[in-house]
Symmetry: C2
Subunit: 294 residues, 2 copies
């Protein structure tokens, strides 16, 4: 078997479509997308990336729920969850059986100018080695997302809180981080609140409390962040969502950026200021996340 | 001949590539894009849409300059302008010879995970009939873009002023306009300034002066807006770019949203408040724009 593995999903929003009829394993080296697909011409679609640990997909229901929420925010027809669930499983069966992997699945509004006919597919590949990021950690810079904290209610058409294909900014901020000799980014609001990373959630520890910025600020509900709260609860910590001001970073005892692929990456510097990383604590967290069966 | 027409551009950022070797006219009904192309998975690319009137492409150099500027803002390699210029011409030669048309050309960062190998292509199709929009006009609503006027200097990583493939918001605002029984949108800043439409420039007339919001507010430099200023100058009007406050709408004598495909669409209502349209004036403007040879 070679990776990546590509599974096309016909009629991805047909609630009556069955996986046996809809899924097609295809040659990953051949093109499968129309040049006029709104996914490419307008970034008009949504996605999820799920982690695969030792051949088991993680948090599949949480991802499918968020995928459905993104579809609703973009007023796309609801994706048929059984098709996407089965596409991930079909893909896993054809991955090389070594190491960790990921599956990204996509739903677009389909071809420009035609009747609504959404495009769906999944692709899977083996993970790069994230040992360094998961142990030594990552340095981050704070970058403004340009919005105020109330953007999601004040201007829902800006699609904050949806996981869309329009991620050019999420890539541009990583280039800006590179220019500042940092590995990653924490987005802030123009009125001084912390949000999330461009492809990750933020978890802060204050003493024995884990905190993540509240979703009402326009952040995604992270599946790996949910797992991090579970780990914390198991260790007797309190956990909760609330708005977190930038100044509170001065009092945080630990920070992680959590995501399905990289799991928990401890933050070892913010805007050039070093932050201590408790290697045992993070190792415990990542071991929990790797073993999570949901 | 049938439309759409699709031209693939190999090595679109190779300054030494020649059109004869790089351009391929391909079957528009077949897929040509990789599922892992960053253009679709991250909206990580740029585009231009050029108008074609009676078989002649309009403002080709202005579009190519803006395309190069978008590439620089996204830190993409510079597109080879001769390849894109030739792709448009090749496409036109294969369009059905009736009515007006458009060409959209695209440059993406290429396939995820591999060495940098940008994707380039152009597609062309005949225009829909925009007689109503160009004569009776369009109703608009004001919607916040969520940013302050200084976003481009304060946070250049947000890519304002670049014409990117990450246009999900530009589509979402049109759905919001539809809910409010309007045809189109004028974006505003959170600090009370007018910007542009989601796929058009804004031109206001105050007496004998034409004004467009300044590019430093993060708006694109519109090629059809440039033509509108030329038309105004020819009629003895003053023209200029400056920041325009929302309240100034109360004193505007005319408004147009200008774009390469639709040309000048007069605004006949703002947030439900009717605005008089001078049919002769707009007809003169659109006749000038149709005849523009650049």
């Amino acid at each position: 078997m070679t990776s990546p593995v590509v599974v096309l999903i016909d009629s991805p929003t047909d609630p009556d479509a069955a996986p046996a009829d809809s899924l097609r394993l295809v040659d990953a080296r051949a093109p499968h997308i129309d040049v006029m697909d709104l996914g490419i011409t307008r970034g008009d679609g949504i996605f999820e990336t799920v982690g695969i640990i030792d051949g088991r997909v993680q948090s599949v229901d949480e991802h499918l729920r968020r995928f459905a929420r993104s579809a609703a925010l973009l007023e796309l027809p609801a994706p048929n969850p059984e098709l996407f669930r089965a596409a991930v499983e079909l893909g896993i069966a054809h991955l090389p059986g070594v190491g960790d992997a990921f599956c990204k699945y996509v739903l677009t509004r389909g071809r420009e100018g035609g009747p609504l006919d959404p495009t769906g597919y999944a692709y899977l590949d083996v993970n790069p080695d994230w040992t360094r990021e998961r142990t030594i950690g990552i340095s981050v810079v704070l970058l403004s997302r340009g919005y105020q904290l109330d953007v999601q209610t004040a201007a829902p058409w800006l699609l904050q809180g949806a996981k869309t294909l329009s991620y050019a900014v999420n890539r541009a901020v990583l280039r800006e981080a590179g220019r500042r000799n940092a590995d990653d980014v924490i987005f802030t609001t123009t009125d001084g609140y912390l949000l999330e990373g461009p492809t990750s959630s933020l978890v802060l520890r204050f003493g024995d409390e884990l905190v993540t910025p509240a979703q009402s600020g326009g952040v995604l509900h992270g599946t790996t962040q949910i797992g991090t709260f579970e780990w914390g609860s198991g260790r007797g910590m309190r956990t909760g969502y609330r708005h977190v001001r930038v100044e509170e970073l001065d009092h945080a005892d630990a920070l992680w950026l959590t995501s399905s692929q990289r799991l928990a990456a401890p933050v070892n510097a913010i805007d050039g200021r070093a932050l201590a990383v408790d290697a045992d604590e993070t190792a415990s967290l990542n071991a929990y996340l790797r073993g999570r069966q949901l």
